[in-house]
Symmetry: C2
Subunit: 82 residues, 2 copies
Amino acid sequence: MPEFMDVHHNMVGITAEALKEAHNADLAIQDEEKVEFKKAWADPESGVVYCLSEAPSAEAVQRIHERAGHPADEVHAVPLVV
Amino acid sequence: MPEFMDVHHNMVGITAEALKEAHNADLAIQDEEKVEFKKAWADPESGVVYCLSEAPSAEAVQRIHERAGHPADEVHAVPLVV
């Protein structure tokens, strides 16, 4: 399954609890689109959040994020990994 | 040690070999700044590359990338991870 990195901007001040809650909201419905959110990293100062996932498509990643209430600003397939 | 995500734009068409070479160039000198590049993901289509590292500072990450010939466009501390 292809891997994707998606990026959320404008989450300045995000807390550990808020990140966990958002991640759990994705996990709760991700199976419906065969998406697996693997990890997320957040920088509360700049407000950027990076989410790594495996999914059938970028659209599937975005649909889960939208339904969970936090659409991504960018979704990139990342076929190359080292 | 804090974690950082840095981002390179403008690498449209990057190949698996080029990514490996760039990553190895970082690995070759990273110890000099106590940086550890852990993983990198690349999207040849949009030209974006994400690098995850542990380092004493964002400046240390950027110095290694600069000396290896590929300065990052963004370097973010990512203190929150899920």
